[in-house]
């Protein structure tokens, strides 16, 4: 390998976010070629609106994956938060929203206790908690039917699908604010540093005097809260909350993280990557819809593209 190629590779490696943005632009260009005039302000607005819930859900997932874990309960939590919020509206909107968010905090905390204190593998712990959450929600849904159909309150509806100045989705403000918080927080706070440290080498982190369980507990709780927020936004976007609301977002939440360049083994990555990853997945969906591809083919292509991107990361940009 010539020195120049090596340098180029190094630059790409360190600036993989540019590659991702390039990919995003290429996909948009593809849409424009297929259907000239399709890429306009309202299209962008739509993409951002649909990407926001996924982006927020994937934010929690990013935090967990950076520590070398995985959270398979994010979608269950999002669904439960949205459904409980919607069903509690008759008792007051504020209370409903707080209860919805509380679901996320509590489940996240239990995940955290399991992983951090009892050292259960994250995959198992969150898988099991996902089952518990969904089971409980179904029981709750049955018992609660008498109290009326779940309603999405106006605030949440506006949050999920309202726009400012005609085109700027309201959810973008929330998503953007969370993104800035995460990007800055991961780089510039002690907590962020410790997430990377734990993901890279838990033993070394312990030797440096860090009590890892505190970090993990806080982290899983944050992930639960972010999942709950994502659930509420999603309920606003689709203006409904049913018992299977966010289920389809579980795998995309992991896919967005992986496409965004965060190593599934932990220790590296960033939320800016995941942010673009969520956008790429949403635009990809849009391309496939525009091509009038049947759902089945869409799924196949979706999967194939994740394989391809992951392979490119590991082989071409991969270290060692």
């Amino acid at each position: 390998m010539s020195a120049r190629v090596a340098t180029t590779l190094r630059v790409v490696q360190q600036r993989s976010i540019l590659v991702l943005i390039g990919l995003l632009v290429a996909l948009a260009a593809l849409i424009e070629i297929i259907r000239p005039g399709a890429v306009n302000a309202s299209w962008v607005s739509n993409i951002l609106e649909f990407a926001a819930p996924l982006g927020i859900l994937a934010a929690g997932q990013t935090l967990v994956v950076i520590t070398g874990g995985i959270d398979l309960s994010v979608a269950n939590v999002a669904t439960a938060a949205a459904y409980i919020m919607a069903s509690q509206v008759p008792h007051g909107v504020v209370r409903a929203i707080v209860l919805g968010l509380l679901v996320g905090v509590v489940v996240g905390m239990i995940n955290g206790i399991g992983v951090a204190v009892f050292r259960v593998q994250p995959l198992i712990m969150t898988l099991a908690m996902g089952l518990v959450v969904t089971g409980s929600l179904n029981v709750y849904g049955q018992s609660d039917r008498a109290r009326g159909v779940p309603v999405v309150p106006e605030v949440i509806h506006t949050l999920g699908s309202g726009t400012v100045l005609g085109y700027v989705p309201v959810s973008l403000f929330l998503w953007g604010a969370l993104a800035v918080l995460l990007i800055v927080g991961l780089r510039g706070t002690g907590f962020g540093r410790l997430l990377y440290a734990l993901g890279d080498n838990p033993e070394a982190t312990r030797l440096a005097g860090v009590r890892g369980w505190q970090v993990l507990l806080a982290n899983y709780t944050a992930c639960g809260l972010l999942s709950a927020v994502a659930g509420l936004v999603l309920a606003g976007t689709v203006n409904a909350a049913d018992l299977g609301l966010a289920t389809i977002l579980l795998l995309p939440s992991v896919a967005a993280v992986v496409i965004g360049g965060t190593s599934i083994f932990g220790g590296s990555g960033s939320y800016s990557g995941t942010f673009v990853g969520a956008l790429i997945l949403t635009v990809l969906n849009s391309v496939l819809t525009l091509l009038d591809v049947p759902d089945a083919v869409k799924q196949v292509l979706y999967g194939a593209i994740i394989v391809l991107l992951a392979a490119v990361y590991t082989r071409v940009l991969g270290r060692d």
């Binding site: 002690g190 540093r193 440096a208 220790g267």
Partner: protein, 508 residues
Amino acid sequence: MAAIPDEPPAAPDLLEARGLAKHFGPVVALRSADLGVRAGEIHALMGANGAGKSTLVKILTGALVADGGTITLGGRQRAFRSTSEARRAGLICVYQDPSLLPDLTVMQNLTLTATPVRKFRHYLNELGLTGFDLQAMPRELARPTLSLLELARALAIEPQLLLLDEITASLPADLTVRVFNVARHVRDEGRSVIFISHRLAEVAALCDRATVLRDGRTVGVVEPAQGGEERIVKLMLGPVAEEVAAEAASPSAPAVGPVAVEVHDLKLGMLGGVSFSLRYGEVLGVAALEGQGQQELFESLAGVRTPESGQIMVGGKARTFHHPADAIRAGLVLIPADRLQSLLRQRSVRENIALPLVNRLSRWGVINPRREKRRVAKAIKRLQIDTRAQSEVRRLSGGNQQKVGIARWLASGFKVLLCFDPTRGIDIGTKRQIYGLVKELAASGSAVLLFTSELPEIQLACNRVIVLFGGQLVDEMPAAEADEQALLRAAHGLHSEEEAEKQMQEGA
């Protein structure tokens, strides 16, 4: 320098390796290694830590592919791409860390490697494991047993060339004798053995010739039996080390301060009740052979493991450490031998050095980048860390990595530095820097406890030495008296030279 003396033009060698080289990224593991092994000989491969022995072994057995050089086996040039290929050619290695699969029974392990069971039994009996239950699982067996099983498995295939990589390190003396006897049988049948060991006495007792590596090069071939040990040591240490040793022979008198750490009757695992005290302003050396309790000693002082009993007093107050965080708060910090144990390999030099600065819940908030940068830069400068590849610590050389591990504590502050074999596998230049730094730190008032597996180096850095043997503190001496001979004797639990000779002979 790489001229090969002492080699009569005898029968053609069974194995002939020439100019083998291997590097991992920026780290050169092997520059140019030559090795010739005759049929029917036991050949020692010697060298200090990091000299390239294990890399050479891996290349010979096909576990690694060399960047350059040739291997000729039985007159045919070979380049093994896998261990099974080397195996088929009659070349088998028994590693220090047993490679029996922990979750398969011994019998299944034999099936997996297509080992003839009857021959395996035969050699097992010869090694003294009669009536061994083949349904046992390696996960449930003791380390020495595993080493013997692995040896018997290798012997059962009756290889042309058997490599024993530090096999005696985990064996008690009586089992070592059995292994030696078997190795001699192999030789008497006209096959060859390459024997890798740190223990000079073993090499002298067992081996016909010895090839010595230093810094990835073959520096000589010696016949160890008749007084060759001296030459081996000289070759292993090299001119630089001699120079350093000469320089260190007159250590400046230390200005010793008050007691920093006092240890009373500390017990943990192998460590069976050790008491000593460490003062501010001194470097206290710990000399010991492998596995004499030094690991447990350092781990309990650093809070990695909690001692079973005994007391650790820091600054006159009794402390109990349940977590490294407790020890760090008390000012005791650890530098482990294995850099992979202490570093975040994917993270930057800066993040690695700054890690202890965020190790408490109260420090989870926003980091002041300017202040952090200043502290990190200061530590980098003091240790002269080469930061050309600072974006990821794994791109640094071994020496620079170890410096990062030390710089971390310079940036965050400490009172007592616990260095557990900090120069393992590090080049001689960096070694000098690290020892220089250790002395400097002590001179500026810190206390340092230093264990090194390379006994000649103890004199370079320490003011005083304690010797551990069998989990007990058996000797204490000022650095001036702690030459390699004295330390070796003490570390073997011997007190007179005659006794030492006797033991070595018995071991043979």
